[in-house]
């Protein structure tokens, strides 16, 4: 942050910030939007948003939390925009995208992985994000609470429901 605040060091500081968080944010976004092309768009837009606002970041939350929040909002906005174009709901859009997953050249999962991704895609939007953050990113509930502005109790309940639903959906597929 110090580097970002200096006149000469801003670009170098911003590149450093991107290199520190790019992978974590990418996988977080990718699991929401599923397809690499979409994840790339969303990640770049996330970093542009960060570029515009990073100097106004007052440090009331952790930088990591702030970045995750921007990335999550961008990913949801992207899905909403896609759903609007298709005159569909986000849940229907997710069903379409999970069916297209196998056609994505940057996906080479086996049958179980495809079925698991389809089962996760059937979850409601918020539950899907909670499931991904907990199951794949192994994010503690306290951090998740700061990112999603939801109580840890509600997040635990949400994750527990999601786990049951994913397992049930997987067995039905």
């Amino acid at each position: 942050m110090e580097l970002l605040r200096s006149e000469q060091g801003f670009e170098r500081g911003f590149r450093h910030l991107m290199s520190q968080y790019r992978e974590r944010l990418y996988w977080h976004i990718r699991r929401i939007v599923l397809v690499h092309e979409d994840a790339d768009d969303v990640l770049q837009n996330t970093f542009i948003k960060v570029y515009r606002g990073v100097l106004q970041f007052e440090g009331k939350s952790k930088l990591y939390t702030w970045l995750y929040r921007i990335a999550t909002n961008e990913a949801i906005s992207h899905l909403q925009s896609k759903a609007r174009h298709a005159s569909d709901s986000i849940d229907d859009t997710m069903a379409v995208m999970s069916n297209r997953l196998q056609a994505d050249e940057w996906f080479d999962g086996d049958e179980i992985e495809v079925k698991l991704q389809k089962a996760i895609a059937e979850l409601p939007e918020k539950q899907r994000i909670v499931f991904n953050l907990r199951y794949y990113d192994e994010m503690p509930y306290e951090q998740m609470s700061a990112v999603l502005a939801t109580s840890t109790g509600a997040l635990k309940a949400s994750f527990h429901h999601a786990v049951k639903k994913v397992e049930a959906a997987f067995r039905e597929l």
């Binding site: 940057w106 698991l116 049951k164």
Partner: protein, 178 residues
């Protein structure tokens, strides 16, 4: 407890099947060199959008900077002015009349009665009458008086009985009736 262990323990009771799945392998990949080229791609997009380099508007200075904000001072001055104006308007005036209820409590019944009698012409007669009625009625018995015993008139008495009655009356009694 490590993050990984905490999640494992949670999944163990919730879904042993999901716990067995490899969380690190989900079939998703990225093009080779994607992350290494990402920074340049972002800066190219920033240039293409002609985004200005952000300027630091929030300066360091912490509490002192916040205290010296002109808007904060203006708001504080406005609140103080309103508070003083309210106090000025609501403060008790010297020689001001007391509210009627408060004033009445300081007078005796005799003083009130004397005042009313002196200024009787100032009062609304109907209102005065209604007060008097209510006051006097409070002392009256609430039960209705017993009906007066009915007396027979000469018209109600048969002629024979009347004649009989007159024969037995003395002259003095007759005179008193007439």
């Amino acid at each position: 407890m490590k993050k990984h262990d905490a999640l494992d323990k949670e999944l163990e009771s919730l879904s042993p099947w999901l716990q067995e799945q490899s969380r690190k392998k989900d079939g998703m990949q990225v093009p080779p060199g994607y992350f290494e080229n990402l920074e340049d791609a972002v800066f190219n997009k920033i240039d293409a959008q002609n985004l200005r380099r952000p300027v630091l508007t929030a300066q360091k200075g912490g509490l002192l900077r916040k205290v010296l904000r002109p808007r904060m001072w203006a708001a504080a001055a406005a609140i103080s002015a309103i508070a003083v104006a309210c106090w000025w308007m609501l403060r008790p005036q010297p020689g001001a009349t007391l509210p009627v209820d408060t004033y009445a409590e300081t007078l005796t019944d005799e003083e009130i009665e004397a005042y009313v009698l002196e200024n009787i012409s100032e009062f609304d007669p109907d209102q005065l009458a209604s007060i008097t009625e209510v006051a006097s009625l409070e002392h009256l018995p609430t039960t209705s008086p017993a009906p007066a015993p009915q007396t027979k008139t000469t018209e109600d008495i048969p002629a024979e009985e009347l004649e009989n009655l007159l024969q037995h009356m003395s002259e003095e009694e007759l005179e008193s009736l007439l």
